[in-house]
């Protein structure tokens, strides 16, 4: 490269000498186009070659002078003495820059900038300048990206050969990019006697699986894209969830390629048996044999990729029966309990060695617990994609147009939670399809797109996962809800309710808004069942709705069912655990409140009225209350409620144990846990107490 740089410098000095002569001559005969052209070319060569060999400052400076002379060539600027003077100075500056690159002389950058400014003044109207950047060229190599499969149709213009293009070389280039299958369409070839061999009558379908980007694939066709028909479409997402991967049917591929219409497909499908769909379509001249072959090639490729992907995954994973996992979690739970006992014992004995062992065991246990929990975690995306079919079939039945979109499918949730979530989700989505989204005509009238959207999303929020089902349907009408609730005797006409509370009526037992019971939703199972299922998962449900804008339902679910963060409290001699995630704050119960033995138990917390419940009364604990009682303020179902306890002990990692079948019907208690010293603590079912 150094010798090339020297060649450039020699050439540049020569050109500068020639430039000086030409400029002086031009001053004598300012209209000589030949001279103007010579000046322009000298500048052009210095610029172009300068950029090639890394003389970027020379290239950029000269570009400005060249631009002026381009205008002179076009006749937009006339040659004046001023222009000649300026160009001569510019020429000298270029020489200085050249000298400077040899390490000789001084480069006066300010002079350069002043010259550029002067030159720009000469321009009729300065257009935004194009900077010459080193290395800016058509074929920047791009870094490799994840594997993708493209469907490419390349239909060259008939006279493509006239430009010296050989389309086969472009196909070769594609072949080098990855796994490539080419199908040629020869159906448009004219009979031999009328064939002009200088014209191209063939076109191609290519299925390409590559690690190159879409832009790299487009670049293959860079010289022919203007006069050829080229379509490039990504048809297979290799990064998607394996369960989501589907292999399209032959007919679907042909429709999506635009080779046949949907109607053609339906007609052919009706006739299908016993011939094959491809044969029918070709026989009826709906499409060509090549098109069918090409679509089959694509189908085969996708099938292969899906199989490969599945094999890859099964190689990397081990299948384990769920019971074994459940047992592991149980054991981990026991271990957490024992570890708590060990820590407690160690801190009482205060022996340094024992304490350090206990701390290490605690660390390992928490690592083991997180790990064991994560094994049970599944992505919710699989469940989401199951609903695509549901939405498609139900909307077809009802004559509605509905699209299901999803996001956050990679969010992980405990396997049990996901399993128990399916039915509630089905119910909510059915409701959206049936009651939420309007018929296409009604949507059009309301100025909405004919196709309604139901969006399913999942995201993490602390120890919870939020699942949101929103539609852009007609929304809930608070007035209608209220009327119905009064008619059904769920509320009385005097009941004062906020809008939110009215919306929450749909969760009341025995409430259904549909006038008639349809096949889709409203089979006697109301939203109350949905709410119950979510409550059982220790989750909560929230509804927002705007009339004619849509409804969205948010489910808040715990990441796992086996262990929760709890707040340990005492009442009398008993220990209780309150779910920490719902705890808002702890305050003292004022003395005057404590002595009151009245029905309405209401507390004023910084100006806000909060009803409270005494756990002592709730669980019928007959010991005397301490002089000072504590109130734990909890939030559930959008309401704040206080729970009066004797003492607040603190945070507690709660391994949930079921109470066993003998205590199945015990209300207000959702489970039990074992404390470090072996004492049993009961877990308070906050939702049930608040609802009662």
């Amino acid at each position: 490269m150094d010798t090339q740089k020297n060649v450039f410098k020699e050439e540049a000095y020569e050109l500068l000498a020639e430039l000086e002569t030409s400029l002086l001559e031009l001053e004598e005969s300012p209209d000589d186009m030949e001279l103007i052209g010579r000046v322009f070319r000298a500048m052009h060569t210095i610029k172009g070659s300068g950029a090639m060999f890394g003389f970027d400052d020379i290239a950029n400076f000269t570009h400005n002078v060249e631009t002026v002379f381009d205008k002179v060539r076009e006749g937009a600027i006339v040659v004046t003495k001023e222009l000649i003077d300026l160009t001569l100075s510019a020429r000298d500056h270029i020489r200085d820059l050249l000298d400077g690159s040899n390490g000789e002389g001084q480069i006066d950058r300010e002079k350069g900038e002043a010259l550029i400014a002067e030159l720009k003044k000469l321009m009729p109207d300065t257009e935004p300048d194009e900077e010459i950047l080193p290395g800016k060229a058509a074929h920047e190599p791009e870094p490799d990206s994840p594997e993708v499969t493209f469907r490419i149709r390349f239909k060259p213009s008939r006279d493509i050969f006239a430009n010296g293009t050989n389309p086969l070389l472009l196909l070769d280039e594609l072949r080098e990019m990855g796994e490539c299958a080419v199908t040629a369409y020869t159906s448009q070839l004219p009979p031999l006697e009328t064939l002009n061999p200088e014209e191209c009558h063939i076109f191609w379908d290519i299925v390409l699986t590559t690690r190159k980007t879409l832009n790299a694939v487009k670049d293959v066709f860079i010289f022919v894209e203007d006069d050829s028909q080229i379509s490039i479409k990504e048809i297979f997402d290799h990064e998607a969830n394996v369960e989501d991967m589907t292999v399209d049917k032959l007919g679907e591929i042909l429709v999506s390629r635009g080779d046949i219409s949907k109607e053609d497909l339906h007609r052919a499908l009706d006739k299908q048996a016993p011939s094959k769909i491809g044969q029918i379509l070709v026989k009826e001249n709906k499409t060509s044999l090549s098109a069918v072959k090409s679509a089959l090639v694509e189908q085969e490729r996708i099938q292969k990729k899906v199989t490969q992907k599945k094999e890859q995954i099964s190689e990397k994973s081990v299948r384990v029966p769920a019971e074994k996992l459940d047992h592991l979690i149980d054991l981990v739970g026991e271990l957490v309990t024992v570890q708590a006992r060990l820590s407690q014992k160690a801190s009482i004995q205060g022996e340094a060695d024992l304490v350090s062992i206990a701390e290490e065991v605690e660390m390992l246990t928490s690592g083991l617990r997180d790990n064991a929990m994560s094994i049970r975690m599944l992505q919710i995306g699989t469940t989401f994609s199951n609903f695509k079919r549901l939405v498609r079939d139900l909307s077809d039945d009802l004559g509605k147009k509905i699209e299901l979109t999803t996001s956050g499918g990679e969010t992980e949730l405990d396997k049990t939670v996901i399993e128990r979530l399916k039915d509630p989700l089905v119910h909510i989505i059915r409701n959206s399809i049936d009651h939420g989204i309007e018929m296409p005509e009604a949507r059009k009238e309301a100025g909405k797109p004919e196709t309604g959207t139901i969006h399913l999303s999942a995201r993490h929020s602390g120890a919870y996962v939020l699942i949101r089902i929103s539609d852009d349907g007609k929304g809930l009408d608070p007035v209608a809800l209220r009327n119905k609730a009064e008619k059904k005797g769920i509320i009385s006409s005097e009941t004062e309710l906020t809008e939110k509370e009215i919306l929450n009526i749909i969760f009341a037992p025995g409430f259904s808004t549909a006038e008639t019971v349809t096949d889709v939703s409203g089979r006697g199972v109301g939203m109350d069942v949905v709410k119950k299922s979510i409550d059982e998962l220790r989750g909560s449900i929230e509804i927002e709705s705007q009339k004619s804008k849509g409804t969205s339902i948010t489910l808040k679910l715990p990441l796992t069912l086996a262990i929760i963060d709890g707040l340990l409290v005492t009442v009398g001699e008993g220990y209780f655990v309150l779910p920490l995630a719902s705890v808002e704050e702890c305050v003292e119960l004022p003395k005057e409140e404590a002595s009151h033995d009245r029905k309405r138990q209401i507390l004023n917390v910084r100006g806000e009225i909060v009803p409270y419940v005494k756990l002592r009364d709730e669980y019928d604990i007959r010991t005397d209350a301490p002089a000072l009682e504590q109130v734990v303020i909890m939030e559930a179902n959008g309401k704040r409620t206080g729970f009066v306890v004797d003492n607040v002990i603190g945070g507690h990692q709660t391994v949930i144990k079921n109470l066993g079948s003998a205590f199945r019907d015990v209300g207000d208690i959702s489970g039990a846990t074992i404390l470090g010293d072996g004492t049993v603590a009961l877990i308070v079912d906050v939702n049930k107490i608040i609802a009662a």
Binding site: E11, I132, A162, N166, D226
Partner: protein, 121 residues
């Protein structure tokens, strides 16, 4: 025998760079100093491909492409235009005259070879 590529450029340094790159890749090279020279050399010899600069004295690149393309023996050979203009206008002019493709200056030797591979069998 290697393929013979004609390269026309009024800049000696560009000619040298192109020629160096091509020879390194095993092509034979025929150099021309301007469009007129290029056309004459193309007529005299049988070249497999032409790489030409746009702005040259005596005959510019566009005109040279037009005349070379008009010669029956060069009806289908690949012709590449070197240009500093990244605007479409010049590329389109080049294509209209019969160029197969273009390379925008400045470019790296491997980019030149990649383009040749795209058009020359």
């Amino acid at each position: 025998m290697g393929k013979l590529i004609l390269t026309a450029d009024d800049s000696a340094s560009m000619r040298q760079m192109v020629s160096f790159t091509l020879k390194g890749a095993g092509y034979d090279v025929l150099e021309a100093v301007d469009g007129k020279d290029g056309l004459e050399k193309a007529k005299a010899k049988d070249v497999d491909m032409v790489i030409t600069d746009l702005n040259m004295p005596h005959m510019d690149g566009i005109q040279m492409i037009r005349e070379i393309r008009a010669l029956p023996k060069y009806k289908f050979i690949p012709i590449i235009l070197l240009t500093t203009e990244s605007q479409d206008e010049k590329k389109m002019q080049g294509k209209a005259a019969g160029a197969t493709g273009w390379i925008v200056k400045p470019f790296k030797p491997e980019q030149l070879l990649a383009v040749i591979k795209k058009v020359l069998k």
